[in-house]
């Protein structure tokens, strides 16, 4: 009798183990191995220049939002690559999300506003001057000094899409005459209500950089071409690429050209030549060459 009990117990155990094995190896999706560089964190654990309540009051005082009771939902995100922590505050009234804002937890600066109250379909824009005036008023409200920025450019939307009512007015950032890659202030204007509905403050704290390149554009193009012929880039599929023109930027390198992995954390800003290279299939990459050392410091891939 004891022998049979043992056999049955063993069989039941094997059945359970077998089922778990079948489930985990065949049915269940594989476990993730990716280490994210951007991830959500508990807002209550964030300590910075601005508390959530201060951020909320700052948004209410700067943006044209009525002073009523809102259900403010807060999340926080950490970006390990750029070392930033950002609060996202969403202002709800009667279950409707009226406005979302991003606040840099370290500096207390509002980096983004997305106002959901206005979403038109009619185009009442008469001229770009009107657009720039509307955008300028938003910059004043958000305490961004437009005088320190060069003239803005206006981007018209594509007709027939969901964003066809959204015009963008963009001030690109320059550092001692050199454009800063992804450095800008953007105001998005709704074409029907003629109101600013979006604000993005992407002005970068560049630091102290010598903006006189010691590597010429031609040298940078040649260096990029040589780099793409090397064994390592070829092994990663960068074969048959031709280096084209180069543009000088103050930029933060994103992707380590030696490993193909993203820099975490990213190095600081430096003066760089962005050499656009096109493969035989039309696939593009920008090879980023340090304009002082001549080293390839990043590979920026296009999709």
């Amino acid at each position: 009798m004891d022998r049979k009990i043992g056999i049955i117990a063993g069989i039941v155990l094997l059945a359970c183990l077998g089922s778990v094995f079948v489930y985990s190896s065949i049915i269940a999706p594989p476990q993730r191995e990716v280490k994210p560089i951007t991830f959500h964190i508990d807002p209550a654990t964030v300590t910075g220049a601005s508390s959530i309540e201060e951020a909320k009051q700052m948004i209410l005082s700067l943006w044209d939002l009525p002073q009523v009771d809102y259900d403010v939902r807060v999340t926080a995100t950490k970006d390990a690559q750029y070392g930033t922590t950002t609060f996202k505050l969403s202002f709800y009234k009667d279950g409707n999300n009226l406005l979302s804002a991003l606040v840099d937890a370290d500096t207390g600066r509002i980096t983004s506003i997305s106002d959901h109250r206005y979403y038109g379909t009619v185009n009442n824009i008469r001229s770009n001057v009107d657009l720039v005036n509307i955008a300028n008023s938003a910059l004043e409200r958000m305490k961004v000094n437009a005088d320190a920025l060069p003239s803005p450019r206006v981007v018209a939307p594509v007709e027939g899409t969901a964003a066809s009512n959204l015009y963008s007015v963009i001030w690109n950032q320059y550092y001692n005459g050199v454009p800063v890659r992804n450095g800008f202030v953007r105001v998005i204007v709704d074409s029907e209500y003629l109101k600013p509905i979006g604000f993005a403050n992407g002005l970068r704290n560049v630091g102290d950089i010598d903006v006189k390149p010691t590597v010429s554009e031609a040298q940078a193009v040649a260096l990029a071409g040589e780099y793409l012929k090397a064994e390592l880039p070829a092994s990663r599929g960068y074969s048959g690429f031709k280096a084209g023109n180069a543009v000088l930027y103050v930029a933060r390198p994103n992707c380590d050209p030696n490993s193909g992995q993203l820099y975490v954390p990213a190095p600081g800003y430096c003066l760089t030549w962005w050499v656009n290279c096109v493969g035989k299939s039309g696939h593009m990459v920008d090879v980023v060459v340090d304009a002082h050392s001549g080293l390839v410091v990043s590979i920026e891939e296009y999709l």
């Binding site: 359970c16 079948v22 049915i27 969403s90 969901a162 999709l303």
Partner: protein
């Protein structure tokens, strides 16, 4: 097989009781039946738990050769994986380097939300496409999307690839997806840097995970300060009031 034994009852001594026998006399055949039964019960338990967690199939695919794509798929899936749609759970799954047949046969037509981030382009005179591991997925490859897993049509196709939202060709992906039954389609009009698409996508899906409409998520993503994409770089067509997660 005889299953009748004479066993003395405690209550009524000497009465024959059918069906009761010593445990030691159970045959191996019966043990096998019990074993199979247990296997079925255990498998049923797991199957039920799988079905219970697979109410809506949200699929996130990407080219693994570009670091931003994998991270983007991971982050965007994480925004929705613990959410619900229509009061049922969302199962968000990532797939690296899917083959063309996986995309067109296993994912499209079953996914409630289809996400792709990777390379894309267009033919000289033809339509645009995005790159699966072993071939291009173009407008003619899109199957019917009107009856996906667990019912209804596909809510959103989000294709983050160069020229995925190109509107200047005779036939294109955006038309194909919407015509085949996707509620909406989002793509990029021209060449887009992977890092820009990464930040745009993260903000977009963060907003969708809060239960916002597609149009609201688009506004949030356009106001993100970490990319240089503007309203003329992106295309969102279809029903923009769709939500892909409950608020």
């Amino acid at each position: 097989m005889e299953a009748s034994y004479e066993i003395e009852s405690r209550d009524r001594p000497g009465v024959e009781v059918e069906g009761r026998r010593p445990f030691s006399q159970i045959s191996l055949k019966e043990v096998s039946i019990v074993f199979l039964g247990l296997m079925i019960i255990v498998l049923c338990f797991y199957s039920t738990s799988i079905v219970a967690h697979a109410d809506w199939k949200y699929d996130f695919t990407y080219n693994s050769t570009i670091g931003d794509c994998e991270l983007s798929a991971y982050y965007c899936a994480s925004c929705l994986e613990y959410e619900q749609y229509n009061s049922y759970d969302i199962t968000a799954t990532e797939y690296a380097d899917p083959t063309k047949s996986t995309v067109t046969s296993s994912l499209l037509g079953t996914s409630k939300l289809f996400f792709f981030m990777g390379h894309g382009s267009h033919y000289v005179l033809g339509d645009n496409f995005f790159c699966a591991e072993d071939g291009y997925v173009g407008s003619s490859d899109i199957p019917s999307l009107t009856s996906v897993h667990n019912g209804g049509g596909q809510l959103l196709a989000y294709v983050a690839a160069c020229h995925s939202g190109d509107t200047s060709w005779l036939t294109d992906l955006r038309e194909a997806f919407v015509n085949q039954g996707s509620g909406a389609y989002q793509g990029f009009i021209e060449s887009v840097l992977a890092h820009d698409a990464y930040h745009f996508s993260c903000t977009y899906f963060d907003s969708l995970g809060e239960g916002n409409m597609l149009a609201t998520a688009l506004s949030d993503a356009l106001a993100d300060p970490n990319h240089s994409l503007d309203s003329n770089d992106v295309v969102l067509v279809g029903t923009t009031s769709i939500r892909v997660a409950d608020s």
